[in-house]
Symmetry: C2
DNA sequence: TGCATATAGGTGTAACTACACGCATATGCT
DNA sequence: AGCATATGCGTGTAGTTACACCTATATGCA
């Protein structure tokens, strides 16, 4: 009945999402730590293996700023897991996973799997499926102002 | 039928969660930009207004590393929105929102509300409710290795 | 061919995140 | 009271994220 009754029904969606992301990231990172790789880097490596891509293409797929991707690739390049070559278009760069990167991926995969399964078993397969469905729907629905913004 | 059939059923939960968090954060930040405040800072301010807390207490609530909170508070202090005083225990610090902070909060609230409502209307109230429920359950279930880790 | 424009990518800056570690203060035990 | 230990917090270091802007190359048009 108060004057501010029109406040949204839930807590800040963004804050809750970030909080969960922090929690989950810590869990995955803890599992991956023995292989000295972070879940963000692991994901980059996994996604990069499928095929070669330019920075812009990869950034678009990941819905990440180009400059962010550039910086996130740097440690992978430093570790020798990824190499960045000049593309057909001289301005572009072609991202590829090195042999060492594939080895690292292979070594880290079981640890990632443990983290993934652990989370799944703790939350329950049902809940995880629902969460993934929610995320999928949200990503399909929400606007994506990545890169240059209107 | 392959040897690696035991891979988890979904994509990396952590990566998907982070991707959505990036997307949603960009949306909220875009709405809040006119007030020169980010959603992370806005959340900090909102949560800090309820009562005074030490850094450790606040970090525990936010499930954020103490050092992270320290650093995230710095820009708020620099803007004069938050003040940090020495607590009863001389080692501790008492975090409080200043008058300027409350003004900033008041000015930013409608923008936050717009973002929150926009997201809710795009996803549908139903879906947002379900997402929040999923997040709540996950936060209640998953272990929280914040701070010193076992 | 040559210039204007568009595009690919990186840098500067700044904030968010966390672990390891160190400093200072508080507490407990003798 | 004095010392060992525990606790609160910041710093060092490193990675993640994004916007503004710059450089270099490619493209399109005269």
């Amino acid at each position: 009945m108060s004057a501010s009754a029109r406040v949204p029904s839930f807590g800040c969606t963004c804050a809750r999402l970030r909080k969960l992301a922090r929690r989950v990231t810590r869990i995955y990172d803890a599992y991956l730590a023995p292989q000295s790789i972070k879940v963000t880097q692991f994901s980059l490596l996994v996604n990069a293996t499928s095929r070669e891509r330019t920075v812009s293409e990869f950034a678009a797929e990941l819905e990440m700023d180009r400059s962010t991707l550039s910086r996130n690739l740097a440690p992978l390049v430093a570790q020798g897991w990824v190499s960045i070559a000049i593309g057909a278009d001289t301005r572009s760069r072609s991202i590829s996973v090195t042999a060492a990167g594939r080895r690292k991926l292979k070594a880290a995969l079981p640890l990632w799997r443990k983290a993934q399964c652990e989370v799944e078993s703790m939350l329950g397969t049902e809940s995880v499926a629902q969460l993934h469905q929610n995320i999928r729907q949200a990503l399909a629905t929400l606007p994506n102002p990545t890169g240059k913004h209107a």
